[in-house]
Each structure stands twice: as C-alpha cells, then as structure tokens.
C-alpha cells in the first residue's frame, strides 16, 4: 500500500514537471502541444477509491493551471475525465472491468490504445472548449482538439510502453 502511494506521488510530481517544463514548449506547427499529464488519471489503479481519484485529478489539473496561468481549464477537464472514467473503462476492457480485475500492466496493446484515445479525446474537447470559451469558434475548438489529441495519444502510448513494468 505504502509503495503504491509513494509511487503515485512521484508519478504526480514527475508528470506535472515534465508537462510544464518540456511538453508545453513543443508548439508543433505553432500551437499543437501534447498534454501527457492525463496518464496519471488513465493509469490510476482501478480498485482504489473513486473519490480519491477525482480529488487528485483536480489537484493535478490545478497545478498545471497554476503554471500555465490558464484559470481552471485543466482542473475542469481532468475532473470531468476522472468522473467519467468508468464509462470509458467498460467498452475498452469489457468483462475484465466487470470483474474488477483490470491491471494496467497486464493488458493487451489494442485495448490500451483505444482506452487512452477515448480518454484523451474527451479531455481535450472539454479543455479546448473552456480555453476558447466561445460557441462561434467551434471549428477552432474541434481543430485544436483533433490535432492535439493525435499528438497526445501518440506520446502517451509511447510513454506507457516505455515505462510499463512487465515485459510480455
């Protein structure tokens, strides 16, 4: 238990720092940035308390907001994704989720990618809707969501492959 708590704390801090110091300065093609801190929410252990996940997501989003001066957009998107995570877990993992036996270190590649892709799309859509905050610019929102999502999904999958513990 202690081990997993300290592991989560280290992951939290590492993802915030990597996000604000490296991945926010990518600015691919001028404006495309990946938001990889969402991996913290994606790979938070399933059997842990959901309330803790929601609260920690709020904290990680708020820390990112503090560094980026973006108000509360990251906090809102993270909390939203953390709350609807079970809805995404179900179609991605099927029966494994219903038996409460999803272990992120032992799932096959395909379902991992679909799971991350769903999560990232929802997160980015909420994020950019709140950032741009105008219904008349819906095309700009969708454009940013699409491009940033592709970038985030690619990087997230790569990172999760590199840092996954057991090699199958």
């Amino acid at each position: 238990m202690n081990n997993s708590v300290s592991g989560n704390i280290i992951r939290f801090l590492a993802l915030v720092l990597v996000q604000v110091l490296i991945f926010n300065h990518v600015n691919f093609l001028g404006y495309i940035n990946p938001y990889i801190y969402i991996l913290f929410i994606a790979f938070f252990p399933v059997k842990n308390n959901r309330a803790i996940l929601i609260f920690l997501s709020f904290l990680i989003g708020l820390s990112i907001d503090m560094f980026l001066d973006s108000g509360g957009i990251h906090a809102a998107a993270s909390v939203f994704v953390a709350y609807i995570r079970p809805v995404i877990l179900k179609p991605s993992f099927g029966t494994m989720y219903e038996h409460q036996s999803v272990r992120f270190s032992a799932i096959d590649f395909g379902s991992k990618v679909t799971y991350i892709a769903f999560l990232v799309f929802v997160h980015h859509f909420v994020l950019f809707s709140l950032e741009i905050f105008s219904i008349t610019k819906i095309l700009l929102i969708l454009q940013k969501t699409l491009f940033s999502s592709i970038f985030t999904i690619l990087l997230s999958v790569i990172i999760s492959v590199i840092f996954s513990r057991d090699t199958k």
Binding site: F55, D69, G72
Partner: protein, 270 residues
C-alpha cells in the same frame, strides 16, 4: 435527516465531482475576464521559482540572438545620442524624477506563451522592484503586454496575444486611432479595429501606440498594416497588423511606469 445523509453518502462521488467541476469553472470564468484571476496564477513562490531556475539554464540557448538585438539597440541609441546635442555628463546623475513622466525597469521573460488563445507571460520582477498592475511591457522592437498580477518577486503579463486584451493604437502617419485586439489565430498577426473610415489606410503603414491610455507612451512601434477591410457597418476599418516583435522569442523586456497615471485616472474617474 437520515435520508439526506444517506443520499449524500450514496452520491458522494457525483457530489464531489460537481463541487470540484464548479470550482474549476469559476476559476475559468474569472480567467476570461480582464484583471479578475485571483487565486491561480504563476506569479507565486513555487511556480515562479521553478520557471526562474529553468530559465537560468535555457537562457544560454539563445544568448547570441539576444545579444545581437541588444547591441543593435545600443547602436541605435548611441547614434541618436551623438547626433543630437544633449549634454552627456556621466558624472552627474539625476536622482530626482522631476519632469520625467515615464520610468523604465528592465526585466526578463521567464515564461513565454503564444499558442493559447489567452496567453499570459511571467517576468522576474515583482513588488520588490516596485512593479504594479497596469504597467506596460515592451521590447526594443515593440509592445508585449500589460502587467496583471505581481507577487514579491514575479509578475504576470497579459500578452497582446490574449483575446481579453485591448490596447489603444493608431496610425503613425495620421492621428486616427482604434483598439488593438487579437482573434486567437496567428501569433504574428494582430487586429486593429474601430479605425474611422476617413483614416485613408494604406498597406505597409506603421502602427504605433496612440498614447490615449495612461499605460503606454505615444509612439511605441507595434507593426505594419498587412491588409485591411471595412467592417459590416462600413464605418470603420478592420486592419490586420504584422507585428515587429517576434512574440515566440522574447527575453529582455522593459517595464514602463507612467508617473502621472494616478493623476490621470483620478481625473478620468471624477
């Protein structure tokens, strides 16, 4: 009572979600209104300190271009100084600020941002260096933004690349002016709106600050006219301005304090 408690326990995840989501939305709405963001900004001890120490390292990467810019400015100022007949006496320093209406402070950008629609920068000067809200920020080439929040050592700057910012600017050739806003698309191009139709704008005209606000002095360069069109009512021009500044590569900036700002504002608010 029992039922209410039961309800809360049963739906505690949903209620927690609602509460935290509501708090985030409040922060978001605050950040979208000018000068309202209260709690969450990067001008604090933690994020300011981290950005500052990282910037100490990343400074070195574009040292050469920054030196080039500064020496070009020195060159220009030196030419100005020696060609005008100002008495240069370096042994005499005027410690009083009599007759001066603008005071300049140097600062470094430690967090740049240009890819969002509401960009906010961070500089390494704060209340300790007597930086306050609503001071202007410029570089050697053009304007950057306006100071928003100050902590002891750091301040946030509302960039001109921010959809909430609005700065009074006009044509250098005539005295017509409008307000400078950004549509959130291209970090090189900014929009000047509400310029009267009889201003006779031409492509390539220089746009400068108008001096109508108490923030920037008159005549600070902004950019050149890229193209222009009439707005729907055909009474005003909408002008696309290409910035002189490269907003993606900022390092050394100057903060401007208008010594008469309070007096002007008092008069306007009367």
């Amino acid at each position: 009572m029992q039922q209410i408690i039961n309800f809360i326990i049963r739906n505690k995840n949903f209620l927690l979600f609602l509460l935290l989501f509501f708090v985030s939305i409040v922060f978001t709405i605050q950040s979208h209104s000018y000068h309202k963001s209260k709690f969450i900004n990067s001008a604090n001890f933690l994020s300011g300190g981290i950005y500052n120490s990282v910037n100490n390292i990343s400074d070195y990467f574009n040292l050469k271009t920054q030196n080039q810019l500064l020496s070009e400015e020195n060159n220009r100022l030196r030419a100005l100084l020696f060609n005008s007949n100002i008495n240069i006496d370096s042994t005499f320093t005027d410690t009083l600020s009599f007759g001066k209406s603008y005071k300049f402070y140097t600062a470094n950008i430690i967090k740049n941002s240009y890819s969002l629609t509401d960009n906010i920068l961070l500089i390494n000067r704060g209340k300790k260096d007597s930086i306050k809200q609503d001071f202007g920020v410029i570089t050697t080439q053009g304007i950057v933004g306006i100071i928003d929040k100050s902590s002891t050592r750091y301040s946030t700057v509302i960039s001109i690349l921010n959809t909430t910012s609005s700065i009074s600017a006009g044509l250098k050739r005539t005295i017509h002016f409008g307000s400078l806003e950004w549509d959130g698309k291209d970090p090189q191009i900014i929009q000047l709106i509400d310029v009267p139709i009889n201003a006779n704008v031409k492509e390539g005209d220089t746009i400068v600050t108008s001096g109508q606000s108490s923030i920037f002095p008159k005549g600070i360069p902004i950019g050149t006219v890229l193209d222009f069109k009439n707005d729907i009512a055909e009474n005003f021009y909408e002008i696309n301005v290409k910035l002189f500044n490269d907003m993606t590569n900022l390092e050394h900036v100057y903060v401007i304090e208008n010594m008469h700002r309070e007096e002007i504002n008092n008069l306007l608010n009367e």
